[in-house]
C-alpha cells in the first residue's frame, strides 16, 4: 500500500534506535534500586515503565501522527486511571476497620477452618 512512500533505511535505523533506548531503560530498571529514588522503588519503576510504554506506542506501534487513535487511546487510559483513582486512591486508602479485619492482618493466623467465633482480631 505505502510501498513507495517509506524510506526503508530511515525507518530501519529508527527501529534500532528505539531498541537501544528500550534496552538502556531496562538497564536503568536494574540499577535504579541501588542508585536513585531508593526511597520509592515502586514509583521509579513505574515512571520508567511509562516511558518505555510511550516509546513502544509511539514508534513501534506507529501511533505518531494518528490523531484519532491517540485520542481514543487517551480515553481508554483515562478510564483505567479513574478506576485506580477511585478504588485504590479512595476506597483502599480509607479501608474501614483495617486493624480489626482478618484480610488486612500482616501475619497469617488462619483460624481453624470452621465456625469458630469471630475471626481473630489482630
Amino acid at each position: 500500500m505505502d510501498t513507495n512512500t517509506i524510506d526503508y533505511a530511515k525507518e530501519r535505523s529508527g527501529y534500532y534506535k528505539i531498541l537501544v533506548g528500550l534496552l538502556l531503560l531496562t538497564v536503568v530498571t536494574f540499577v535504579q534500586p541501588h542508585m536513585f529514588m531508593t526511597e520509592s522503588t515502586f514509583a521509579a519503576q513505574m515512571i520508567i515503565a511509562v516511558i518505555k510504554g510511550w516509546l513502544i506506542l509511539m514508534f513501534y506501534m506507529h501511533l505518531k501522527g494518528e490523531k484519532l487513535i491517540i485520542w481514543m487511546t487517551g480515553f481508554s487510559l483515562f478510564i483505567v486511571f479513574t478506576f485506580f483513582a477511585i478504588v485504590i486512591g479512595v476506597d483502599v486508602q480509607k479501608f474501614q476497620f483495617k486493624d480489626e479485619s482478618h484480610i488486612t492482618a500482616s501475619v497469617t493466623a488462619t483460624p481453624e477452618a470452621g465456625h469458630t467465633a469471630a475471626p481473630v482480631a489482630h
Binding site: 479485619s101 470452621g114 469458630t116
Partner: protein
C-alpha cells in the same frame, strides 16, 4: 412486657436516625413528583393540544432552540440534585458516625449460613452471653434475638466466618443495613427510643435459606435488661426456674443446628431431619457428620452446604447423644 410482634417496616420509626432517613426520602419524593410532572404535564398537554386532527400541516413549526429554557432545565435540576445529595449525605452521616465505645454496648455479631450469633461483653459475674438466633419455621418466629436496653447506643461489630459468604444485617424499622463480609470487620450502630421487637432480615443473598435468615432486636426497659444481663439466662424470656435443658440441646441451639435440621421430624429444612437418626447410624457416623460433613452425603443433598464444626470431643459426644435421643 409490651412487645409488638408484627413486622415493623418503614412505617415505624424506632431508631434515632430513622427520622433523618425518612425526611430525606420524603424530600426526594416531592422533588421527584415535581420533576416528573415537569415532564409529564407538558407531554400530555402537547399530545392533546397538537393531536393530529387539531393541527393543519401549515401550522407546524420547527422550533429547535430556546436558550433560556435549555439553561433552565439544566440548571434547576442540577440544583435540585445537589439538594438531594445533601440530604442523602446528611442522613448517612448520622447512620455512619459511630458513638464512642465507652458510651455504648458493643456487641459482636456473626452472620453465617443461616443464623445470627451475638456475643456480649462480660457481665459483672464474668459471664459472657452468647446467643444464637435462628428462625423456627414451625412457629413462624425467631428463637432468641439481640436484647438491648432502650435509649442506649449499641455498636454492632459484625463479621462472618472465613469459609462463609456475605450476609447483610438489615433492620427495616431502624433504616439500617450493612453487609457482613467474611474476612472483614464491618460496624453499625443504633439507639432505639421505642420499646418493642423489631425484625432483622438478611438482605444479601446467601443461598438456600436466605429467606429464613431472620433475627430480631428486642428493645427493653433498662431494668429488665439489667436483670437479664447480670443473670446467666439465655434470654430474658426464658423461665430460669424451668428444668435446665441438657448440655446437648444447649449445644444444638448454640451452634445453630436448628437452622438447618429439624430435630423432631424428618422434614428437610436445609439438611435432613434428624428424627430417629440414632437408630439409623452409629455414634461414629454421627460424629463424623459434624466434624467432616462432606464425607458421607445422604442422597438428595450436596456436599459443601453444611460447614464443618470444630468442636471439642466432649461437645461432639454430647451432641451425638442428643441426636441419638431424638426419636
Amino acid at each position: 412486657m409490651d412487645v409488638n410482634n408484627s413486622l415493623s417496616g418503614f412505617n415505624s420509626m424506632a431508631s434515632t436516625f430513622a427520622k433523618d432517613v425518612d425526611q430525606a426520602f420524603w424530600i426526594n419524593f416531592w422533588i421527584s413528583i415535581v420533576l416528573g410532572l415537569s415532564v409529564l404535564i407538558p407531554m400530555f398537554y402537547f399530545a392533546w393540544k397538537y393531536r393530529e386532527s387539531n393541527v393543519k400541516d401549515e401550522e407546524i413549526e420547527n422550533v429547535t432552540h430556546n436558550t433560556a429554557l435549555e439553561i433552565g432545565w439544566t440548571l434547576i435540576p442540577t440544583m435540585l440534585m445537589m439538594v438531594l445529595f445533601y440530604y442523602g449525605y446528611s442522613s448517612m452521616k448520622s447512620l455512619r458516625t459511630m458513638p464512642a465505645a465507652s458510651e455504648s454496648i458493643v456487641v459482636k455479631v456473626e452472620g453465617s449460613k443461616w443464623k445470627w450469633k451475638y456475643e456480649y461483653p462480660a457481665n459483672k459475674a464474668g459471664h459472657v452471653h452468647k446467643i444464637t438466633s435462628v428462625y423456627d419455621k414451625k412457629i413462624g418466629d425467631v428463637k432468641r434475638g439481640l436484647y438491648v436496653p432502650v435509649g442506649t447506643n449499641i455498636i454492632l461489630e459484625m463479621t462472618a466466618p472465613l469459609n462463609d459468604v456475605i450476609h447483610s444485617y438489615f433492620v427495616p424499622a431502624f433504616r439500617m443495613k450493612e453487609d457482613v463480609v467474611p474476612g472483614r470487620m464491618t460496624k453499625q450502630w443504633f439507639k432505639s427510643d421505642v420499646v418493642g421487637e423489631y425484625e432483622v432480615e438478611c438482605a444479601e443473598y446467601c443461598g438456600t435459606a436466605h429467606s429464613y435468615m431472620y433475627s430480631k432486636i428486642v428493645v427493653m426497659e433498662q431494668a429488665d435488661y439489667d436483670k437479664w444481663f447480670e443473670s446467666n439466662a439465655k434470654s430474658p424470656f426464658e423461665d430460669a426456674s424451668a428444668a435446665p435443658i441438657s448440655k446437648g440441646q444447649s449445644l444444638y441451639e448454640d451452634n445453630g443446628c436448628a437452622g438447618c435440621h429439624s430435630i423432631d421430624s424428618e422434614a428437610t429444612l436445609v439438611g435432613p431431619g434428624l428424627k430417629g437418626i440414632g437408630a439409623k447410624y452409629d455414634a461414629e457416623y454421627l460424629k463424623n457428620a459434624i466434624i467432616n460433613p462432606d464425607k458421607d452425603v445422604p442422597a438428595g443433598f450436596f456436599p459443601g452446604v453444611m460447614p464443618p464444626f470444630a468442636l471439642s470431643d466432649a461437645d461432639v459426644a454430647e451432641l451425638v447423644k442428643y441426636m441419638q435421643n431424638a426419636k
